[in-house]
């Protein structure tokens, strides 16, 4: 497929936003039972606002993917059948709940909702709804790709797992840098999880690379045109100037370029940020932690480009030869 930058930024930015929110929520949940030191409400409010900005950034990026963004409201109508429609509903739901979570923390609203005598019950209740919506959004985003069964590189449970782990890893890495600035007590909590999630993502992403390198194609030129012969080749695709079919489904790069992007993202997303996180936490260096996030996000842009470019659409069987 031809990687569109709008979708690359959409999926990576909302991944960071969702991961950051999960990080904030999990730390607040831990503080409520005194596993982690308590933080003032504005720490979570500002963090939630930043998560919201990442999601807004993703939403703005997605607009550039649409031919008619002014009709985008219609995209919420077919949620019964379309994962894209479900994403269109889940994204504003996540944004609304994160905004509410930030607001509750900013105003310091608290009430003993469940009679437990613990603090932060309102914020955590709103946050729990936000977590459910966030997980649903991860599922919707990934299923848009995993649900197309003939895009065999995508049609796998690993796609869902990777979207979740890569998003949360980058979000926790960002949370580590944020905590280093605002709440140094929490940095090692986030950092530890960021390292664990990055390593888990390395394993699952490698598994999908391993799987994709061994795909047995279901469609062949023989099934595409219905001629049973071992030697069939195209002589003409019926046009010389190119069309949507030749632009949308090909990445237009060499195999060597594709391979190099794979190694770039494998290095930038996993070992470099993990080492920077470790060094940043060990030396209490905020600069290294910020660098860890910057490197990992840059790597994720390469990862997402590769994710799209690697998918081989069966329609390409019909567009092999100009002439």
């Amino acid at each position: 497929m031809h990687p569109a930058f709008s979708v690359i930024f959409l999926t990576t930015l909302i991944g960071v936003g969702q991961g950051l929110f999960l990080a904030l929520f999990s730390s607040q949940a831990y503080t409520s039972v005194n596993v982690l030191p308590t933080q003032p409400g504005d720490y979570y409010a500002v963090g939630g606002l930043i998560a919201l900005l990442f999601l807004v950034g993703g939403l703005i990026a997605s607009i550039f993917h649409l031919g008619h963004p002014e009709r985008a409201w219609r995209a919420a109508t077919k949620w019964r059948t379309s994962w894209l429609s479900r994403e269109v509903i889940a994204l504003p739901a996540v944004m609304g709940l994160i905004a509410l979570y930030a607001l509750v923390n900013w105003l310091g609203l608290d009430y003993d909702l469940y009679g437990l005598g613990l603090s932060g019950q309102v914020a955590l209740s709103v946050g729990a709804a936000g977590v459910a919506a966030t997980l649903a959004l991860f599922l919707c985003t990934a299923m848009i790709y995993a649900a197309i069964k003939f895009l065999q590189e995508w049609a796998s449970a690993l796609t869902v797992v990777n979207y979740f782990l890569l998003g949360t890893a980058s979000g926790f890495t960002f949370a580590t840098a944020y905590a280093a600035l605002r709440a140094p007590d929490l940095a090692s909590f986030y950092g530890g999880w960021a390292i664990a999630l990055s390593i888990a993502a390395l394993l699952t992403r490698s598994a999908s690379l391993f799987r994709n390198a061994r795909i047995k194609r279901v469609s062949t030129l023989q099934t595409a045109i219905g001629v049973r012969h071992t030697h069939v080749r195209q002589r003409s695709m019926g046009m010389m100037g190119g069309a949507y079919n030749t632009r949308e489904y090909f990445h237009g790069r060499t195999v060597a370029f594709l391979k190099s992007v794979k190694w770039v993202f494998l290095i930038l997303v996993f070992p470099v940020p993990v080492l920077l996180l470790w060094a940043g936490l060990a030396n209490a260096s905020t600069a290294l932690l910020i660098l860890a996030f910057a490197v990992q996000y840059l790597g994720l842009l390469f990862e997402r480009w590769f994710f799209f470019a690697q998918a081989n659409h069966p329609q390409n069987l019909y567009y092999q030869v100009v002439g």
Binding site: L66, A147, A224, V227, P314
Partner: protein, 241 residues
């Protein structure tokens, strides 16, 4: 239930592209607006087409065969492009099974084109909506057109009648009989899309003749062969017997 479809006879198609140009002409002149052409007379012309004729070579030289292969939307009975549409702009008509795009609802997200394994959909770069073969829905029901001309433009224009049009759910229609009796097949059956359009294979007329049929077992000459072998010392009797 009606399911309108095309049946394309690859045995007859000569690859003249008449269906391509007539399709473009009809569909660029309709109420839905033109099919965009970018740089049509320039170095890199490109544009939106509903139909293409491709050419394949089957076999290895010198035993090769040229196959001309017209390709358009197959109007699948279970179209994967329809459920993925987030707006409902992509839909399959209940009354005749034609898969259509509502250009006023389409947001141009391209997801349906990803979900079509055949690459039958094209985004119009000018109107920024998804376009595809409509089976000339604005022609086949137009009562101002003489009844025998109420067929898709590609079917009318085909000089060799390689394209048949009709209801594939009616077992006695021309298209159903052609599929049934001439080996009609769907494309990429492995994805379960159940394409309505079918293709008729290249056919060769061959006669299988058994050896018995070449040598007449009951040849009377053989039955009544009363000649005898001639002895070395031939006598007059040998000739008279």
């Amino acid at each position: 239930m009606t399911q309108l479809a095309l049946v394309i006879d690859l045995n007859v198609c000569v690859g003249c592209h008449a269906c391509v140009t007539s399709c473009k002409q009809w569909n660029t002149s309709g109420e839905a607006g033109p099919l965009f052409d970018d740089n049509p007379y320039g170095r890199d012309p490109t544009g939106t087409f509903f139909n293409r004729v491709q050419t394949y070579e089957v076999g290895e030289y010198p035993c090769t065969e040229t196959l001309h292969f017209p390709k358009s939307c197959l109007h699948c009975e279970d179209p994967p492009c329809v459920p993925v549409c987030p707006t409902g702009a992509s839909y399959k008509r209940k009354e005749d099974g034609i898969v259509l795009v509502d250009y006023d609802k389409c947001i141009g997200c391209k997801y349906c084109s990803w979900a079509c394994p055949y690459g039958a959909r094209e985004l119009d770069e000018k109107q920024q909506v998804m376009k595809k073969c409509t089976l000339c829905v604005d022609r086949i029901y137009d009562t101002r057109i003489p009844e025998d001309r109420r067929k898709p433009a590609c079917v009318i224009s085909c000089p060799t009648s390689a394209r048949l049009f009709g209801d594939v759910h009616d077992p006695e229609s021309d298209v159903s009989i052609a599929i049934r009796e001439s080996g009609g097949y769907p494309l990429m059956p492995e994805w379960g899309t159940k394409p309505s359009n079918h293709y008729l294979p290249r056919r060769k007329t061959k006669m299988r003749i058994h050896e018995d049929e070449l040598v007449r077992a009951d040849n009377p000459l053989r039955k009544e062969d009363i000649r005898h072998e001639v002895s070395k010392d031939a006598t007059l009797d040998d000739w008279l017997m």
